[in-house]
């Protein structure tokens, strides 16, 4: 199945991976490399760790791997805060791994962590050869998993599997951005990029994700799962295996992200059509994956002018994050990522709430009332375009171009183009809606009003004013998801707080009046009191 795709429109580099030789330290003619490899001997604790880890992989020791995976971060903090982990040559040199292919799988996994650490921690980021090597390492990993006749005997924690897919796309994104920034590159660097059009090629990345989806039968599994059946009954030999099943699921989220980065919001939502977003499921146990999913889904909805859906999506996940906040407080780079994404989602929610005011969960609402966000919202409500631009720029994903820049023409800001296009689409929408917030503030004041009179208030001709009213109705009425798993489906609804209709030349206005809610408040206070009581009773006098 997997190999059928290769060679179809161009030979995917996945095939060449085996022939690629990782340039050993010192052999490479890239002088900048040496800077990343200070000479040091491997600390004893790290040696021990690597040996344990190697054995756990050799023996397929499922129970030790999760904690070993977590230890990687701990040891990074202790020994490798700003320098890279020992490279594979060093492991051979210290006799930590065998040369006889016995440790191939361990080395692939080790390299996965090794390069990911370089991307995250090393100043100046990875060099071009490192980007290439990391790409080939992913090819090796996916080749191993996908080309096997029977499921490979490998079990990794879900968290790691998620991070493999997440990182794979992140590195693709990072490479695309890097490749487009021609201005700062030397001749040999540009040559190197020109000669390797297949590395981090968008087709290969899509191919990997699609293959993982197909191999695991995940779509069929999800279909059966949502209709209450047993997914194993349709999973097939590979899909029953947790490694394949979870990689398949995470690849769907990966596709969601990838399509969003390319500006294809329709496909982004469509790939998730078998995932029931509004329900908890057995597939959703990795928090980072959940948060990423909702971020991209919410963003896609916002761009599609489905504000009610975007607002629901963001509120759902933000409530979840608030409840589980304690989990994300320790500082490591995964949590930094989550916290950044949370902040971005609050900003996106603020944008949506300005464009489409409606009632939301009290907990989330109170966060929007905090100073900086409240000020942003106030500025946006006053139609200050720079604020919209700023919020969008801060909160949007890092859009990318799927093709290399024209290497031979004059350097320009190619890396910014995809972002600028999405920004333009969004700002055009904001422009079209510019009159609406003023209209809303006027309408709020009355229950009935002759058109002529209100047109005069706003210094508009009656025709222009009528257009503005029609535009208000049109923009406030959007497709909203109602049922089913497909996030694309929905009905036209109007959830606007202020609504109206016209009878002849008279406007009839309907407002939403919300009485103060006290239930939530009391419950929260009761819980707080209980907690105080509990901690008091623990105090020994």
């Amino acid at each position: 199945m997997y190999n059928e795709f290769v060679d179809e429109y161009e030979s995917y580099p996945l095939e060449d991976a085996e022939n690629y030789h990782y340039s050993a330290r010192g052999e490479g003619d890239f002088s900048e490399r040496t800077g990343h490899y200070p000479t040091y001997s491997i600390p004893e604790e790290v040696k021990k760790y690597i040996t344990y880890f190697r054995d756990a992989i050799r023996d397929g020791n499922v129970y030790d791997i999760p904690s070993l995976y977590v230890d990687f971060n701990r040891l990074t903090e202790e020994y490798f805060k700003t320098q890279s982990w020992p490279d594979v040559e060093d492991l051979y040199g210290n006799k930590l791994v065998e040369q006889d292919n016995r440790d191939d799988i361990f080395l692939i996994l080790y390299r996965e962590l090794y390069y990911r650490h370089i991307y995250a921690r090393i100043q100046g980021g990875p060099t071009i050869p490192q980007r290439f090597e990391s790409y080939y390492n992913y090819c090796n990993l996916f080749n191993y998993i996908l080309s096997a006749e029977t499921p490979v005997p490998m079990e990794l924690p879900n968290q790691w599997l998620w991070e493999i897919i997440d990182e794979f796309i992140y590195q693709f994104q990072s490479f695309s951005q890097f490749r487009s920034k021609l201005g700062k590159k030397s001749e040999p660097e540009i040559e190197m990029l020109k000669e390797s059009p297949k590395i981090w090629n968008v087709h290969s990345v899509l191919n990997v994700l699609h293959c993982l989806v197909d191999k695991s039968n995940i779509n069929r599994q999800l279909e059966v799962y949502t209709s209450g059946g047993d997914p194993d009954s349709v999973a097939g030999e590979f899909g029953r295996h947790p490694l394949y099943k979870m990689l398949g699921y995470f690849s769907l989220i990966g596709l969601l992200r990838l399509h969003s980065l390319l500006g294809d919001y329709y496909q982004a939502i469509k790939v998730l059509e078998n995932i029931e977003l509004n329900k908890k499921s057995m597939y959703s146990r990795v928090p980072a994956c959940q948060i990423t999913t909702y971020y991209y889904v919410g963003f896609a909805y916002m761009m599609m002018r489905r504000y009610a859906d975007a607002i629901r999506t963001f509120s759902n996940i933000l409530v979840y994050i608030q409840r589980t906040k304690a989990m994300f407080q320790t500082r490591n780079y995964q949590n930094d990522q989550i916290n950044k994404q949370t902040e971005q989602m609050y900003t996106l929610l603020a944008i949506c709430m300005v464009l489409h005011p409606q009632r939301i969960d009290e907990v989330v609402q109170s966060s929007l009332r905090e100073k900086t966000l409240a000020e942003k919202m106030a500025r946006m409500s006053r139609n200050e375009t720079p604020e919209f631009t700023q919020c969008f720029t801060f909160a949007c994903p890092k859009f990318l171009s799927p093709v290399p820049p024209p290497f031979d023409s004059a350097p320009a800001n190619y890396h910014k183009e995809p972002f600028l296009q999405q920004l333009k689409v969004f700002m055009d929408e904001v422009q079209q809606q510019q009159q609406i917030s003023v209209m809303r503030s006027y309408l709020k004041l009355y229950t009935t009003m002759p058109m002529e009179k209100m047109a005069a208030f706003q210094d508009l001709s009656e025709d222009d004013f009528r257009n503005a009213l029609l535009c208000f109705k049109h923009k406030m009425r959007n497709i909203v998801w109602t049922k089913g798993t497909s996030g694309l489906q929905g009905d036209f609804q109007s959830d606007s707080e202020v609504d109206f209709f016209i009878a002849g030349s008279m406007i009839h206005i309907a407002d939403t009046k919300v009485a103060q809610r006290y239930g939530d408040f009391f419950i929260r206070q009761i819980h707080k009191l209980e907690e105080v009581n509990r901690s008091l009773s623990k105090v020994k006098v």
């Binding site: 179809e8 500006g263 329709y266 009632r359 257009n467 535009c471 009839h508 239930g519």
Partner: protein
Amino acid sequence: MRSTVASMLRGIERYNPENISTLERYVELQARENTYDLEANLALLKLYQFNPGTYQNTVACQILMKALTNLPHTDFVLCKCLLGQEQMEDANVKRIMYLHDLLEMCQFSTFWNEKDQYSNLTTNIKDFSDSIRKYVCHVITITYQYIEKQVLSQLLGNVDEVALQAWMSKYGWKADEDGNVFIANQEDTVKTKNITEKIDFDSVAGIMAACR
């Protein structure tokens, strides 16, 4: 054709550049026969994005024009997101963007007045004006309880009496003797809402039981 194309777009095949010519013919067909397939058109724009050398400006314009005919849906925005900045600079694309702005902002009179200047873009799209009128009718349906007949005809592009009657009967709108056209009763859907919190015993019972 729709099902052949749909099967072409499954899985990784969707990105096969060899599909481009078929999809382009399909766009042509949609324009000629007044049919519409958003997903196929988006797939074509994506192929252009992946293979910039194959980009056909006239086809892209047709896709955008077809997206206009599917207002009030936001198909146009979805298509726009897949274009590049350079492609947006094209004079025809810019004109279509302007038309889109007019329609989204419901400036229908301006749209009808200026429409003739864009005949090079509209002639190849079968029933273009009527598709736009459908969108206008949608906006009227959600806004008006009743509307002056003369305003209605103006919003529809100053159509003659016969055409106006045809649109009215299509939507079931009835004219009265005062020159008004009854659209729909809005009083049931658009009304002031008072939201008060209701707390029932069951939701309090849990927390009461927990406090001793």
